[in-house]
Symmetry: C2
Subunit: 524 residues, 2 copies
């Protein structure tokens, strides 16, 4: 029985509303192309109705392999409107990795950008309908032909429960194979509202798509920007010169990026103080004092946030206190470097010991960061064991190690899950280790993160060769490049014995202590 006083939370309502209220306002900018909210909505319904017409049934997975272009944004509404589940694939993966994801999620459709098509050409994709996107917006573009065959009229929702799955986001976790993190309608809806509130989005905002939409569905900004009737500015490529042009030409007010991206931007010759303040969340790692100073100088206000794919992107924010404005820059950066506390729709993030008790709020005692509630995803698709493990004790275990400060803010100090974060992208050290171990000359190996000025962290491999065999650093790196996405391959390879415990377990901390000797924590 329908309740008059309840509607299931769905981000599709955001588009319906902005299409009604701001039909002639610019919703999407892509180079010289512009779509109003009316057009954006019509394109979404064309996509949805066409998907249904060609056989999509409720719950079917629809994969997209594309940069930040209008079709991928449209997919965030059109796929769920049709009743499907969106799988936006990381465009930096290689063919085998993409193949694993397509097969694991059982994609029925795959939309692929023409420039990325070479990645799927080697794959046998039986049972998957592939639609190419030329990103021209013109009639002959196969994606546009797909839309043209659909209807621009709103279609009936098949959503019955806001806890249904709207998207699956694959992430590199502790094991070699990526895991599919399931997002719910309720979760992305609340998270989108939170992003609006935390970053102060409103109908005058102009959001630049520097953050990949395949990352946690662009941390739900795909939905947040639309919720307030703001403008999406798409971006095929992270070109800092173009970004500075867009800042001025389009009047950008908001963008998101890891420190790597921020550093690239603030150091670009075109960098010039912005007349109107631009807000930018910084995720993946905290901004250094230098970076913070440069951003201030350019009139870019950083908001430091922290989260994981399993938490719809950001879960915590380092809420700024006005009185910090008067502190020296180094002190400001030190305070801002902390991950802070949960978003307005999130529960308190905790740092706990092995018994799940809170650690002391002393800024010293280490523990694991755990989270729960509406900002935690539903679990891993077709992987109940991994879900059970991650949700042990009824809390989501981030695998990140940190401390709890006397003021309640948490701060990360290390990662327990062997994740390397390079330029905002997760790399599983175990995946890299398993790849190197396949090399015929390798006896065993360990991969750790080492600090890197530009990328934050990069993988370094420590390799023991089999007796009588030989391999060079370049051979090992090349071996990885043939098997892994390029960004996952180690920059450095060192040869020799690995430090081990008496029971034979590799002591990675000894390797890390040496590499991180100059830093005060093990993440960068």
């Amino acid at each position: 029985m329908t309740k008059v006083y309840r509607s299931e939370l769905t981000p599709i309502s955001f588009l319906e509303r902005s299409q009604l209220i701001f039909p002639n306002k610019t919703a999407v900018v892509h180079g010289s192309r512009r779509y109003t909210y009316r057009q954006f909505g019509e394109r979404v319904y064309r996509l949805a109705s066409r998907l249904r017409a060609v056989g999509l049934e409720k719950g079917d997975r629809v994969a997209f392999l594309a940069p930040n272009i209008p079709p991928l944004l449209e997919a965030h509404y059109g796929v769920p409107a049709a009743g499907g589940i969106l799988v936006a694939i990381n465009t930096r993966l290689n063919s085998q990795e993409i193949d694993f994801i397509l097969k694991h999620c059982g994609a029925k459709f795959l939309f692929v950008d023409a420039e990325l098509k070479h990645l799927i050409d080697p794959l046998s994709l039986e049972g998957v309908e592939v639609i190419r996107i030329d990103d021209t917006g013109e009639e002959r573009d196969p994606y546009e032909q797909f839309l043209a065959a659909g209807s621009p009229k709103p279609i009936d929702s098949v959503l019955e429960d806001e806890e249904e799955t709207i998207s699956i986001n694959y992430t590199s976790g502790t094991t070699g194979n990526p895991k599919g993190v399931m997002y719910s309608y309720r979760g992305v809806y609340l998270n989108a509202l939170s992003e609006v509130i935390e970053t102060g989005l409103n109908s005058s905002s102009i959001y630049l798509w520097t953050l990949p939409m395949f990352h946690c569905n662009g941390w739900c900004f795909t939905w947040a920007v639309t919720a307030v009737g703001a403008t999406h500015v798409c971006l095929r490529k992270l070109d800092p010169e173009l970004i500075w042009d867009l800042f001025h030409r389009e009047g950008i007010t908001h963008y998101n990026g890891a420190p790597t991206i921020q550093i690239m931007l603030v150091n670009h010759p075109k960098a010039k103080r912005l007349s109107k303040q631009v807000v930018s969340t910084v995720a993946g790692a905290p901004p250094s004092p230098t970076l913070l100073g440069q951003m201030n100088e350019l009139n870019i206000r950083p908001i430091h946030v922290y989260g994981l794919t399993e938490t719809y992107g950001p879960y915590t924010v380092c809420e700024w206190h006005e009185e910090w404005n008067d502190l020296p820059l180094n002190e400001q950066a030190r305070l801002l470097a902390r991950q802070g506390q949960g978003y307005v729709t999130a529960e308190r993030a905790r740092v706990v010991d092995d018994q799940m008790n809170d650690v002391a709020w002393d800024g010293k005692t280490m523990g694991e960061v755990v989270m729960r509630g509406n900002n935690v995803a539903k679990g891993y698709y077709k992987n109940p064991e991994a879900t059970k493990e991650a949700f042990a004790g009824n809390w989501f275990h981030s695998g990140d190690l940190g401390v709890w400060h006397p003021d309640g803010y948490i701060e990360l100090r290390d990662r327990s899950k062997d994740i390397i974060i390079s330029g905002g992208e997760n790399i599983s050290s175990i995946e890299v280790e398993q790849t190197i171990a396949q090399h015929p000359a390798v006896l065993e190996c360990a991969v750790i993160a080492i600090p890197h000025e530009k990328w934050g962290e990069r993988p370094k491999a420590f390799v023991t060769l089999k007796p009588g065999k030989s391999a060079t650093e370049q051979e090992i790196i090349q071996f990885c490049r043939e098997r892994l996405a390029r960004y996952k391959c180690p920059d450095q390879v060192a040869f020799g014995d690995l430090p081990k415990t008496s029971t034979g377990k590799v002591q990675k901390y000894i390797l890390r202590n040496k590499e991180w000797a100059k830093m005060d924590k093990f993440i960068n």
Copy 2:
């Protein structure tokens, strides 16, 4: 079984969060008193724990009769934290009306401000524990003694389902007796987030309590302001001179008010252009061109919103379009006078004919405004018949008549439910009629709204006397004053026959046509 990825939506989480993140920030200002978020939270937990200690059980009703003072704000957290249901009573009601509400809701506790205590003195309140509030904040204040006996530590939640009732707000409806509108935790949570987004609240905001907290729980700003860690500035009384002082002294950024209040403020001798823009929602009736011009002049940005007690206060907002800035003031006022469309968390407001079909989007065809979804309250407490009637056809029937413009915005034109809105307060014309009918000289009567410059609308009575009996206008008004809250009593009484249909039904529209001849619609 607890789901790791779900928490029940509750606005108490907003206070928990702000207490954690902004412990030393000013949460509440009341004259020279100031409470930080830590203190605010501790006072709330004292209230909650003390309520439990003295016998409050889950679902018990706790009534408050108080102006906009800290205890009533604290009640919005402390009562639900204890597991109770808050009943904030309109302070302008008379003793009988208050008696009805206390008995109807079955209040177990009544907190009453010392200045309003005379209203309950005549009542027999067996079984109700009465706690007086002196509003001194000092030790000898009975309310402070109540808190002192409680514990400042957070207490365990007893909330099991976000659709449970958090508060009951009594409203004058179509019938004489007020109806208790039930708000859910989910509803107020989502509504609070919407208010944050629509009015742009953030942690720097300073909110002035011009809107009564007993009105739809202060339209959920009681919770919204806390959600972002902003500051509440309390206000015992609507004193325009004090308000202008507070604008400057406290740096107010937001307040809410009906046009009556706005007019009072902009025309006050102390009115002076504000250096920083202040945002004010205008509800109950649209701002006139004159008022809009004056507000612009003073740097106050009006946001026109519309809703009812049954919709948590505002349901629609007249979202401003940037291009309207260039239009003449009259034209701006005409566009802003429209009620607009649903909030970001609301579904589309519809205007429908008798068959529940959408009327034409022509700005001319009249129909009833209907609404549904998360921004609609749960129904009327202990009044399933009224709930069933209001929810007929699975939509909430506002009783308001309006048109649908070609751009999708709705605009009210009349009310079908005999509601008179005077200075932002609802008056039931039927309640006034039933009162007048009790006068021994009265045969029958009809009460309608007439336009009023200051109050928007005021009640006027048309009375037919019994043959051979007599009564003067002043006698009738006095008779009402002895039985009704003063603001409900008619300003004018006219004597004579009432226009009727052939079946004997009073034709109110004929009376109204005459009184409203100079206006283009029947609401003001």
